[in-house]
Symmetry: C2
Subunit: 198 residues, 2 copies
DNA sequence: GGCGTTCTAGCACAACCGTGCTGCCAAGAT
DNA sequence: ATCTTGGCAGCACGGTTGTGCTAGAACGCC
């Protein structure tokens, strides 16, 4: 049985997904169409549709890959002896401070804004939210060195809301504006968690 | 000089704007077109375009009216003797706890997500952000009873991020889910502000 | 070399989009 | 009664969208 030429489908998918991200960042989610994405990726529509038969599949994969990338980056955070600095380094990855994470958050927001029209993306978004929530729980556990209870649950929710709110504000200001205040705020919050623990 | 029949343009504009909101909430920002809005409002495209010649003007007015409505609702908050309860009542208006405020926040988010494509809406969004920021400053001043300085600025930013993060999380959960935890979290944060002041 | 399969390239179609434009209707001032 | 003008209804046009479908090109295996 002959096995004809095959391209690296995963690489091709990633190439197309990053084209999607670029368009979302530069022109908004509304500008994402099979044609604009194919153009941006430098392929023809036929090739794109050979890998992603429908637009929904294209967006779904793009969203999923984005979550994977973010997860990988967070897991790759170098351990630190200082708990506050370690937690801060992890949480910083959730803020749109660099082009990559900025794109990730922008895509995340686009998913929320378009969720009524794209129900298949809701579960991806919810999965990502649960992951971040779990991360906040772990951060609280690390800093307070206590098991989970009602107060630590509230603290985790507080931290989660704070991080996402900071992300929202960083996104609405220009990419090159001063953003040291956000890190400082985050570090102060994390430090106060250790201070409050007995 | 003859003066022919005139409709209440402001009422007509508000009618069309609320149709825009409904579509954003139910079908996402991507589903907002002159035709879908005219349908939803029960008028024909020609009539809509008589009031809003272009789609951009329609969206711009809808966004501006939304900010006005929110501002009015906040200003109408009854004063309370308890500073924490008063601040909490005001901040609750910024959370998507009821259909109206839910729609407002959803529209706000849609504006952010589509800002690359609709630059004219950016300044409206920025104006709304500044208003909320100012509100947070006033809340901090009220609770700590101290003038603005670096620490109160940080506290206001903290509060602002927390409120917007909470709003984001409330939006991603079903409209009828339990949301008492958000109010509790907010009240605790506001109470801790008074506690910290000397 | 020939075959078979994957990939590429693109046409076609129906639907939808924003917007320019043209009549028609109704109502109030004269 | 007539005239003037704001509002209503809708057609038309060029563009874009998602997707079905077909024909050819490129390549690994026999």
């Amino acid at each position: 049985m002959p096995v004809p030429r095959t391209i690296d489908r995963d690489a091709r998918k990633a190439q197309l997904a990053s084209a999607v991200w670029r368009i979302i960042v530069e022109r908004g989610i509304g500008a994402v169409s099979v044609r604009s994405v194919a153009d941006e990726a430098g392929v023809v529509v036929g090739s794109l549709r050979h890998v992603f038969p429908t637009r929904a599949e294209l967006l779904e994969f793009s969203a999923r890959l984005m979550v994977e990338r973010a997860t990988a980056r967070i897991l790759a955070t170098p351990r630190s002896d200082d708990p506050v600095e370690f937690a801060c380094a992890i949480m910083r990855h959730l803020l749109p401070l660099e082009p990559d994470s900025r794109a990730e958050f922008e895509v995340n927001l686009a998913l929320i804004a378009e969720s009524p029209a794209l129900p298949s993306l809701v579960e991806i978004r919810d999965y990502a939210t649960r992951e971040v929530e779990e991360l906040c729980h772990q951060a609280v556990e690390l800093l307070t060195a206590r098991p989970r209870d009602d107060t630590s649950l509230a603290a985790a929710r507080h931290l989660h809301a704070l991080v996402d709110g900071l992300a929202l504000h960083l996104l609405t200001q220009p990419a090159d504006a001063d953003s040291t205040w956000a890190t400082a705020l985050l570090r102060a919050e994390l430090a106060s968690l250790t201070a409050r623990s007995p």
